[in-house]
Amino acid sequence: MKTARRGATGSARRAPAAKARGGIGHNAAALSDADRLGLFKSMARIREFEDQVHRSYLEGLVHGTTHLCQGQEAVSVGAAKPLREDDFVSYTYRGHGHCLARGMEMENAFAELFGRSTGVCQGLGGSMHLQDIERGLIGSFGIVGAGMPVAVGAGLTAQLNGRGQVSMSFFGDGACNIGAFHESLNIAQVWKLPVLFVCENNLYGEFTRINHTTPFEDLVQRAAGYAMNAVAVDGNDVEAVYAAVEPAVARAREGGGPTFIECKTYRHRGHSRTDPAKYRPQEELDAWLKRDPLILYRARLKELKLLTDREADQISADARAAAQAAAQRAAAAPWPDKDQDFMAKVYV
C-alpha cells in the first residue's frame, strides 16, 4: 500500500512528532480487498452521479447553477473512509461528492437539485446546500470559507462529548485566502480540537489560477503559520488520501488535535455550469485527465488482481444506471407545496 506523500515543506518538518499510533507518517490501517473495491465503487458512484447531473442539466431539470466535482472523487472517498457514522462533515457548494461518500441517497440528492419535495432539503436548499444531518453532513456552504468555523464548532462538540468523534472540513484552494480560514485553523489549534482540514487544491478558484492569488502552490505551507500538523498528498490517489487522512483522524480521536491535509487534485469541468474553463492550458488539463482518479485506481486494482476491466466497466455501468434511475424518479417527484407553512421551516 502506498503511504501518503509527505509535504516536503517546513511545516511538515516542524510538525509535532508523530505519536506512536495514529500520528501522521504512521502507516494507515491496512485496507482489505473489500475496502478497496468499496473505494472504487464509491468513486464510480460519484462520477456517474455528477455526469448525470450534467445530462439532467442539459434536459432543463437542474435549476440555477451547479458545481461538479468530477476529477476530485478520490478526495471525498479517501477522506470519508476513516470516518465513523457519528463524525461530522462540512463542505461547500462543490459538495455532491462529500454527501454521496457519506451515503446520501442519489434520488434525494437529485430531487434537491431538481427542486422537488423529495429533495434532501425539500427543495429549499438546492445544489449548493445539500445537507443530511442524520449522516453527520452538517452543511454545504455557499460562502467561501464559511463552513470552516462551523466545522471547528462541530470539533468542539466532538471534544466535549468525549467519545472520540472528529469533525472534517472540506474546502478549496481559494478558500485558503479568506479570513474565516485563518480564524478556524488558529482556534482549532489553540483548543486542540479534533478537526481535519481537508484542502482540495484543484489549482483554481473560479477562473483564476492559484499563482495569482496565493504566494505558493503548496498550500500545506499555510499550516506552518499555526504550527499545525500537516501533510500534502496526491489527491487523485484514493489510497494516498486515505493513508494521509486515516492517521490524522486517529490522532484527532485520541486528543492529538487538528491536521491540515492538502490534497492536490483537479476538476475536470468548469467552475460551474456556465463555465467552459477556457482559461486552463491544454497541457495542464491533459496531464490531469490522464491522472483521472478512477483510471488510476482501476489500474491499481487491476495490478492487485482485484478487478478486471470488465468488472470495472460493470461497476461504472451499474452506477450509471443507478444514477439514471434515481434521476428519473427524482424528476417524477412532485414540486413542493407553495402553500406550505414556510414559517415553520424558518423557526422551530
Partner: protein, 326 residues
C-alpha cells in the same frame, strides 16, 4: 426565588448562571469572558463555577467563534456567544446573516440552531463612532433570526433565559449604558419572558411612545415631562424586533391616536419606520397626525461629549416630538 433589586448586569449574570446550571449542553464563548469575567463583567463568576470547557476565552476571531457556535448548535450543544461591542457584529456578519439565520430553512427544517448571540452596544459613554452603536438596524431585515432588546434587569433576565432555551438563533442586543441600572427581578424562578411582542410600561391616553433599550428610560422621562403639561403618554417597550408583532402598539394607537417612536439608531433603516408603517396599516383611521420618529441623526455618533449628547434623543426632545403632534 426571591424578588431582588439587582442591576441589568447582575440580571445577565444570573440568567447565564441559572441556565448553565440547568442544561449541561450550554456553554459560553467570547473575548476575555473567562477568569476576568468579561470587560463589562457580564460573565462574572461563570468561569469559576463552570470551568474552562464551558466558559471559553476566544482569540479575537468573531467569525471563528460565532461560526463555531453554529457548528455546536448543529451538533447538540446550545452555545452562547458574547460580542464585546455590538459594533463588532460587522466582522462576523456573514456567519450570522448567511449562515446562522438561514441554515435551518435551507436544510428543509432538518436542523435546529439553538444558539444565542449577546451583543453589548449603545452610545452615551463617549466611546466614539466605532464603539457606540446598538446594531439592530444591521440585522433587522434578516429572516431566520429572533432579535430582542432588553431595557430593564427583568427583561435582561427573562428574555435571556428564554433565548437560551429557544431552539432558534436569538440575537440579544444589550446596552452598556443600562448595565448599572437597577430593577426588581425574581431570580431563581421560571420567570421566562416571551421573545415576541411589546410591553406597556406606563399607561396613557393621549399619545403612544414606543422605545427600545436605553431610549426606554428616556421615553419614560419624556412621559413625566408631558404629564406636567397634562399629556398622558402611554410608553411601550418594543422589546422584540424580529419577528415583529406590533398589534399591541396598534391597539394603543387606536386609543391615543398619536404615535412617536424613539430609537438609538439613524432614522433611515431603523425599526421605527417599520412600526410606523405597520401601525399606519393597522390603525390608519385612528391616527390624528402622521407618526413621528425620534432617532439619531444621519451621521456617525461624534465623540465630543456635547456633540454626542446633542445627537442622542432626550426626554426633552421626545416630549417635544409628542407635543408637536397632540
Amino acid at each position: 426565588m426571591a424578588v431582588q433589586e439587582i442591576t441589568y448586569r447582575e440580571a445577565i449574570v444570573a440568567a447565564l448562571t441559572e441556565e448553565m446550571r440547568r442544561d449541561p449542553k450550554t456553554l459560553i464563548m467570547g473575548e476575555d469572558i473567562g477568569p476576568s469575567g468579561g470587560p463589562f463583567k457580564t460573565c462574572q463568576g461563570l468561569y469559576e463555577e463552570f470551568g474552562a470547557a464551558r466558559v471559553r476565552d476566544t482569540p479575537i476571531a468573531e467569525t471563528g467563534f460565532v461560526g463555531a457556535a453554529l457548528g455546536l448548535a448543529l451538533t447538540g450543544y446550545r452555545p452562547i456567544a458574547e460580542i464585546m461591542f455590538s459594533d463588532f457584529l460587522g466582522v462576523c456578519f456573514d456567519q450570522i446573516v448567511n449562515g446562522i439565520a438561514k441554515h435551518r430553512f435551507m436544510s428543509g427544517a432538518q436542523s435546529t440552531v439553538p444558539l444565542v448571540i449577546r451583543a453589548i452596544g449603545g452610545g452615551g459613554l463617549r466611546f466614539g463612532a466605532q464603539h457606540s452603536q446598538t446594531g439592530e438596524s444591521w440585522v433587522l431585515s434578516v429572516p431566520g433570526l429572533k432579535i430582542v432588546c432588553p431595557s430593564s434587569p427583568a427583561e435582561a433576565y427573562g428574555m435571556l433565559k428564554s433565548a437560551i432555551r429557544d431552539d432558534n438563533p436569538v440575537l440579544i442586543f444589550e446596552h452598556k449604558g443600562l448595565l448599572s441600572s437597577k430593577g426588581e427581578v425574581e431570580t431563581g424562578a421560571e420567570r421566562l419572558l416571551p421573545l415576541t411582542g411589546s410591553r406597556v410600561l406606563r399607561p396613557g391616553t393621549d399619545a403612544t411612545i414606543v422605545a427600545s433599550l436605553a431610549m426606554v428610560p428616556r421615553a419614560l422621562g419624556a412621559a413625566d415631562l408631558l404629564q406636567a403639561d397634562g399629556i398622558a403618554a402611554e410608553v411601550i417597550d418594543i422589546r422584540a424586533l424580529r419577528p415583529m408583532d406590533t398589534s399591541a402598539i396598534a391597539e394603543s394607537v387606536r386609543k391615543t391616536s398619536i404615535l412617536v417612536t424613539v430609537e438609538e439608531q439613524t432614522q433611515v433603516g431603523g425599526w421605527g419606520a417599520e412600526v410606523v408603517a405597520q401601525v399606519t396599516q393597522q390603525a390608519f383611521d385612528y391616527l390624528d397626525a402622521p407618526p413621528a420618529r425620534v432617532t439619531l441623526p444621519e451621521y456617525p455618533l461624534p465623540f465630543s461629549p456635547p456633540l454626542e449628547d446633542a445627537a442622542l434623543p432626550t426626554p426633552e426632545s421626545i416630549a417635544a416630538a409628542v407635543k408637536a403632534l397632540v
